[in-house]
Structures are given as C-alpha cells and as structure tokens.
Amino acid sequence: MPRQAKAVALISGGLDSLLAARVVMEQGVHVEGINFYTGFCVEGHTHAIRKKDRQRPKRNNALWSAEQLGIKLHIVDIIEEYKEVVINPQHGYGSNLNPCLDCKVFMVNKAREWIDANGFDFIITGEVIGQRPMSQRKDTMPVIARDSGAGERLVRPLCARNLPATLAEKEGWLDREHLYAFNGRSRKPQMALARQFGFEDYAQPAGGCCFLTDKQYSVKLADLWQTRGTREYDLDDIMLLKVGRHLRPRANFKIIVGREEGENRFLEGYRKRFISMIPTSHTGPLVLVDGEVEPDDIELAARLTARFSQGRDAQHVTVEVRHTDGMTQSLQVTPMPSEAIPGDWYV
C-alpha cells in the first residue's frame, strides 16, 4: 500500500486557504496547517486594546479554520525575519507599504523549510489566479514557486487546473480531475465550494488581514522611518502605530494619545521606555512622548495632553510628566485650543 502523502497548508484564516486545505484532504493526504505571524497581522492585537472592541467575538481565524478542518496548526513567529521583506521588498510595494508578492515568496519559502525539516511532501496555498492585483496573477504564480524554492512542491488546489502539473499530481498523490480551475476576482465559486463542504461563518475574505494594506497605518510607518532616518522597527514600534492618536508637532518628537481606557492601559506598559504624561487636575488620557525632547517640547506636549483632557476649556490643567528614569514633574499649562493645532500635526 502506498504511503500517505503529507502536506502543509498555509492557513491565513480566510476562506481560500480553508478550502484549499480541505480539497487536498478530500484526496486522502495528511494535512497540517501553518500560520505566520509577522506583527502586522490584523487579528490578534486588534482584539485586545480598545475597551469597546472587547465585546466583539475574539477568535483567531487561523485557529478557527484548523478546528473546522480537524488539523493541527503551527503558528510561527517570523517578526524578525520579516523585517527584510517590509524594509526592502525586491518586487516593490502595492498601493501602500504592502509588499504582497515578496510576502508570499517569503512565506512559501518558510513553509518549504518547514516541510524539509518535518518530512512533509508538498505545500498548499489558497492562491487563485487573478484574485489579487499584486500577488495572485498568472505571471506571479511561477515567480512565487521559483523564488521560494518550492518549485513543483507548491500546489494551489483552487486554480491548479489552470497551471502546469505539480509533483503531487505526477506522484499520484493528487488527482488533477478533483482539483479546481478558479480564476479571477469573483468569490462565487469559493462560496459555492464552501457550501458544498458545509463551511459556514467563515472569515470574510480578501484584503484586510495585514495592517500594511491600510493607508493610514502605512502613513504612520513611513513617518516613523522618515523621522528616525532609518527604516528599522521593532515589535513595540509597529504595535504602537495602531494605538491612539499620533500627533507630530515638531520633527524631533511625536505624541501618542490614548483614546480610551483600554488604550491608556495598553500605553501604561510603555512608560519605562517613553516620557509619559497624564493630567492630574482633570480626567484625561495617558500620553507617550516619542523622540528626543527639550524642555519647550515637554511644555508643548503637556499643552496638547491638556487639550485632550476634560479640562480642555479650563484656564489651567496640571499635567504630571514622568521621565524614563522614574523622575516626575508637575506642570501647570494652558490647554492648546483645538483651532491652534494644525491638521498636518495628525499623522
């Protein structure tokens, strides 16, 4: 009896990867899932920070997909290695700072390393020709297979019949007749297949899974790189870009203003790394000051902190400033009027 082939499926949590894995499982292949955490993944940190979001259902869609499929899911932290993809993408960015083609090459390459290390035979992705303008085109499919080093060991079950036969077909692990020929941006074939498999309540597909596709987020990241004079970042940097209001009053510093209790609590964790401010005479936000600052910068930041407090219309607001060495000072400042804050201070 021939041995059971083994495949690892890239599971994003969306519908396509769910279906692709299932199509291969239908043919008797042992499938396990792999999910890569870049630090820019939308689900995850979107759950936790804002208090108003805490009432939303909290589920990791990749884990949910694995449960639907009844397979193991290996979640891999690629934050450090992924920096090179974001900072220096060989194939360039999409409409924002999203390096989608390089990202796909990178992830398939990581999956290739994983199957080599774990004795698996091939890799499954949910790619569909024509589905995405940058990374899922007829001409990029061979680029991903080639540049990742996966070559014929990369199987796209949802559009396989539009592509040359892979190793899995040549070895007889997969029957081409039971693979699919989806093409283009329409989601109807996937939705029909989902119904056929009995999948309901799957995550809404397309876009949306990576902060780098978000225009506002990309603007903040570009601002961070520009003002630091380097395109480096760490995990804290990219997490903070999605929390609070960001205002850059001067080139040498910006402030991050908590918008509500959940964000204030999250920002609390950074008070040893940044100068922080909090109004003490009135209810108000926790504010972090990011940059090298002089005393007049501190005063400006304190006036902005007062502006976002309940004392915004008061004559004076007392703001406690805590420095990174733990020293504190108390400043009495006049809140900056809203109309005095130029629109381009908002990053």
């Binding site: 955490y37 936790a48 805490r54 589920r59 990791n60 884990l63 193991k72 979640i75 997490m239």
Partner: protein, 77 residues
Amino acid sequence: MAPIIVDARNLLCPMPVIRTQDAVVKLQPGDSIKVLCTDPGVLHDIPAWCRVHGHEVIDIEEHEHEISITVRVGQSG
C-alpha cells in the same frame, strides 16, 4: 510537579499562543504549563490551540486584568 510558568503578560495574541506552543514542545505528555497573560484574546485562542493539538486546559483564572491558563500536555505533542 508544579507547572512550568510562561510569562506572556503585555503580549497580544497570537504571541501568547506562540509562547505556549514553544514551551509545550519541550515538555512530555502529562506535564503542565501555566501561562500568564493580559490579552483577553487568550481566553479563546489558547483553548482553541489546545483543542487542535490534543492538549487539555485544566484551569483558567482571571484576576482584574490578568489571566492565567493552565494546560496539561497531551499525547500528540
């Protein structure tokens, strides 16, 4: 034997799951691990991860903004 402690406080999902996964891979079936967290997303994600890997959540405690989840390692690793 006392559970191994994994400190995943101030980390947002899925990092607490990854820390759990990385610790469990070094343990034997029957061993236990206690994961300290602050992200409420773990209340869903760590049990879900345990279900797909055959591990068992044996205790969940919540104190104000801290959550601890104790997991017993299953056979499948």
